[in-house]
């Protein structure tokens, strides 16, 4: 990193006030050059883990400067893994920020300010919150050791591997099998470095750094060794980059640019391997496999399904499923990202686009309530694929298969023009004006008490508040959100949010899961619980429908009996719970729709009270919401109001369904006027009198709140179809036609309205922790009696939960492939 007498970053850093040198104490790189020999190291976030951005490759290994400007966006994000979550604690390095951001490589010489990688303009304001800034590693504490990398000595925490030490020194080591979230395999040998006084090059990912080690990463020996490894890897690797879907974002391709030879010495025929059938999601081309075993480790460590394994030895080594078997995990798509070559690729995406033609948009997933961070890759008006974005606090770097593969549903069954049902029963496409005035006419004919508004699973906060204000202005209080139960009370946030937070769940040691099938309701939360089970030996007990959770758990029955026993202290589990240091109770969707919900919740509260699940420094009481719209709808108070007569649905004469598809057509009175606003011609569209086409989450900028209370926004990646409009705009227009005009004309004005209703929704990308009130402040519901009926399954088929999935062919294929399997 040092050139002549000046670090070349200094040149780059001029004028960038945020830049600070991480190693040299008094160095202000922007103004003065550091002393010779100072190692400058980049901040934690942008260093890639599995590979490098291509430009970085050239820079790292040919000591040229990166040609990419700081604003470079061409780098495949899945190559970018943050140093932030290596097995070492980055905060101990002092190079972390309290604001977690998705890392974006900023080119090899890009400088990242003290706040950790800064990505989009939208994040700018929020980033200013509490950046802790990089600090100097304390050299004098006991936990650090001194090693030298390429002649520069540095202090690193004890327990790091050589590879991590090199990273601290700013030296990128090429690697295939090493992955910071998986166990160390050390079988690709690409990460060879030279260590003084060892007879031969060592695999740095598997070698612990020892005091006084002299590591050399750029000697001719190292280069030669890596070139040798590369040549062996390429022996049996087919030359099919032009037709390989990984092309352009392939670690092997990238690293062969540096270490590959321009001709081969191998004259035999290449080995052939039978492709495995892993199901409708993951395509395999097993000749491309380099046996890094990342996929095997992912399946058994993270996904918790021991379906993949290594068969054979030496030249006949193969990755496979032992017996003809599908990969039965709802996280299976992640092996596509994790495979460094094109052996595992996406089946639905196969041969549809090359990675460099795609436009990437950072967005948020809406298929469950976790709000996974995603990147939508689109070409023209079409969503081509969805891949994860890194967010340590939410989805790490994984997403569920439903998130990843249901996008093809966005192209089918779309509502693209307003329609009115004519007397013959057919739907006639009309103009917006005609459709809105038809609704207005219907509104004027009914009394406020006879109206109702229902919010569906995928609604954004903007449309929810618009609908609420609209109905309120008409005098209607009859509003509810589907899938969350009729008698929900939205007064206190801590009673319906995941208080422990998704990341916080990892620290727990005893879990009680009530009426929830976490694996289906929130697969990534399940992966976190699995992590706690693996790391802390957490004990898990479930009360609810039996399910394979991918880790050991005790099934306490599916009814409320065990629950009452635990509350009474008669159950052996109650001692376990009260002895736990970090107990977690999660109430899931199986409880919401019960008629005795209040009574069940009262029992849960007793348990929470007795076991001290909520303490000053730990809140272990959680409600796991089911759908993306729920948290925002509750925060905005989209619940039955004072004058609501919810139970007698028969008197309803006007029903406004904002993407609500689960309401049974039979439950709607025959003479009711039904308005359906949504993006898919799903169930409720068949009953609608007027259809108003809205935009899907990939087409609008919508605010969503996750089940832990984190406010996030989607961004439009593709244009909306046909005549469809943003949802809040439709309601705004309708309000004007009806004569109760809503006071906002722009999306920022709608968001300003959040400030008056639930200000936390205004704080995008932030988690506003709910206040914990003593239980005594809520009046105990006295009336209802607890029933012993079993908790229902909130989700029967993981792959078919909302209107987008139901229109998706891939999800239908998954249903037929996996439906008969018990696991999912």
């Amino acid at each position: 990193m040092v050139r002549g007498s000046k670090c070349y970053k200094v040149l780059q850093a001029r004028g960038n006030a945020n830049f600070r040198c991480l190693i040299s104490p008094g160095c202000k790189a922007a103004t003065e050059a550091p002393a010779e020999g100072t190692i400058l190291r980049r901040n934690a976030a942008p260093i890639s883990d599995s590979g490098y951005c291509r430009s970085f490759n050239y820079a790292a290994f040919s000591s040229t400067k990166c040609s990419q400007p700081e604003s470079c966006t061409r780098i495949p994000l899945n190559l970018m893994r943050a140093l932030a979550n290596r097995s070492i604690d980055v905060s101990s390095l002092g190079a972390s920020s309290s604001v977690q951001r998705t890392p974006v490589c900023s080119g090899s010489t890009g400088l990242i300010g003290s706040g950790g990688g800064l990505q989009s303009v939208r994040h700018l304001q929020t980033l200013a919150v509490t950046p802790t800034g990089p600090k100097i590693i304390k050299a004098d504490t006991e936990e650090t050791i001194e090693v030298s990398v390429d002649g520069h000595s540095l202090q690193i925490p004890k327990g790091m591997t050589v590879l991590q030490a090199c990273e601290v020194a700013g030296k990128e080591i090429p690697r295939f099998c090493y992955h910071s979230r998986l166990s160390i395999a050390g079988n690709c040998r690409m990460c060879l470095v030279e260590v003084e006084k060892t007879p031969k090059p060592v695999a740095s990912c598997a070698m612990p750094a020892l005091p006084g080690m002299k590591i050399k990463t750029d000697t001719p020996l190292v280069k030669k060794a890596r070139e040798g490894v590369m040549e062996f890897l390429l022996l049996n690797h087919p030359l099919d980059c032009p037709i390989c879907d990984q092309g352009g974002e392939c670690d092997l391709q990238d690293q062969s640019m540096v270490f590959g030879s321009d001709r081969g010495r191998f004259t035999d025929t290449k080995r052939s391997v039978v492709d495995k059938n892993l199901g409708p999601l993951v395509k395999t081309v097993m000749t491309r496999c380099i046996h890094c075993t990342r996929c095997v480790r992912f399946a058994s460590e993270i996904a918790g399904v021991p379906d993949l394994g290594v068969l054979g030895r030496g030249g006949s080594e193969e990755i496979g499923t032992y017996v003809e078997n599908l990969m039965t995990s709802e996280l299976s798509g992640n092996v596509i990202d994790i495979c460094p070559v094109g052996a595992l690729t996406s089946k639905p995406f196969a041969f549809t686009a090359r990675s460099w033609e795609l436009k990437s948009t950072e967005s948020i997933d809406v298929s469950d309530a976790l709000g996974s961070n995603i990147r939508i890759d689109s070409r023209g008006p079409e969503v081509m694929r969805i891949i994860p974005r890194l967010n340590e606090e939410v989805n790490e770097e994984w997403i569920s298969d439903k998130t990843r593969f249901s996008y093809d549903g966005l192209k089918r069954q779309r509502l693209n023009e307003p329609m009115i049902r004519r007397p013959g029963g057919y739907l006639e496409p009309v103009t917006w004006r005609a459709a809105l005035s038809a609704v207005a006419q219907a509104v004027h004919q009914v009394k406020p008490e006879e109206m109702a508004g229902v919010v569906g699973k995928l609604a954004d906060a903007e449309s929810i508040i618009a609908l609420k204000d609209f109905l309120n202005k008409l005098g209607c209080e009859n509003t509810w959100c589907e899938g969350i139960g009729a008698n929900i009370d939205a007064d206190v946030r801590s009673k319906y949010l995941l208080n422990t937070t998704i990341a916080g769940v990892e620290n727990a040691d005893v879990f009680l899961l009530i009426g929830t099938q976490v694996r289906k309701e929130a697969p990534l939360l399940n992966a976190r619980i699995r992590k706690a089970v693996r790391n802390n030996r957490a004990k898990v007990a479930t009360i609810g429908p039996p399910i394979d959770l991918t880790y050991d758990h005790e099934d306490l029955g599916d009814g409320t009996d065990a629950l009452i026993q635990i509350a009474e202290g008669k159950h052996p589990f109650s001692t376990l719970l009260s002895k736990a240091q970090h107990p977690v109770v999660i109430v899931g969707a199986g409880v919401f729709e019960r008629s005795d919900k209040d009574a069940v919740m009262a029992v849960v509260e007793t348990i929470v009270d007795q076991a001290k699940v909520v303490r000053d420094d730990w809140n272990g009481f959680n409600v796991l919401l089911l759908e993306a719209a729920h948290a925002a709808a509750l925060d905005l108070g989209f619940v039955p109001g004072v004058t609501a007569k919810l139970l007698s649905k028969d008197h309803l004469k006007f029903l406004y369904l904002l993407g609500a598809d689960d309401i049974k057509p039979d439950d709607i009175p025959k003479d009711a006027f039904v308005v359906y606003q949504g993006h898919h011609g799903d169930r409720s569209a068949y009953r609608a009198n007027v259809i108003l086409p809205g935009a899907a989450f990939t087409e609008k900028e919508g605010t969503y709140e996750s089940t832990e209370g984190r406010t996030q926004q989607t961004s439009p990646a593709v244009p909306s179809v046909g005549d469809a409009r943003d949802d809040w705009k439709i309601i705004r227009a309708l309000s004007e036609v009806v004569g109760v005009q809503l006071p906002y004309d722009s999306v920022s004005a709608v968001r300003a309205r959040f400030l008056a209703v639930s200000p936390n929704l205004f704080r995008v990308d932030e988690l506003e922790p709910p206040t914990v009130w003593p239980q005594s402040i809520t009046p105990r519901s006295s009336s209802s009696k607890i029933e012993s009926s079993p908790f229902i399954k909130a989700i029967d088929n993981f792959y078919m939960t909302n209107s987008i999935c139901r229109a998706s062919r891939t999800m239908a294929q998954c249903t037929s492939a996996f439906a008969n399997l018990k696991q999912i």
Partner: protein, 94 residues
């Protein structure tokens, strides 16, 4: 204290905004601790949305029939004063 019981006849929704930590919201938090249970018991159907957000000014919002809203800032008020404000809000004829 009869206005408390009458609350849900005039007010359609109450919203209390405050900050989780700042001292300007202390009185508001105390108000909630002391009065929420009573208010909720007397008006079981009335949504009383308790919404926290860091760094905001505490404020009491009342929504009346037909979407009319009024609000009062609570900064600098004591707990009894907040109660008085609520009583005031509850007496607006909409």
């Amino acid at each position: 204290m009869s206005w408390r019981g009458q609350l849900s006849q005039i007010v359609r929704e109450l919203r209390i905004h405050f900050c989780q930590t700042s001292s300007s919201s202390d009185a508001t938090r105390e108000f909630i601790l002391k009065n929420y249970k009573d208010l909720k018991t007397l008006n079981p159907g009335l949504p009383i949305l308790i919404r926290e957000c860091s760094g905001i000014q505490p404020r009491l919002w009342a929504r009346y029939a037909y979407g009319v809203e009024r609000s009062v800032p609570l900064e600098g008020l004591t707990e009894p004063q907040i109660t008085a404000k609520l009583e005031e809000l509850s007496k607006y004829a909409s």
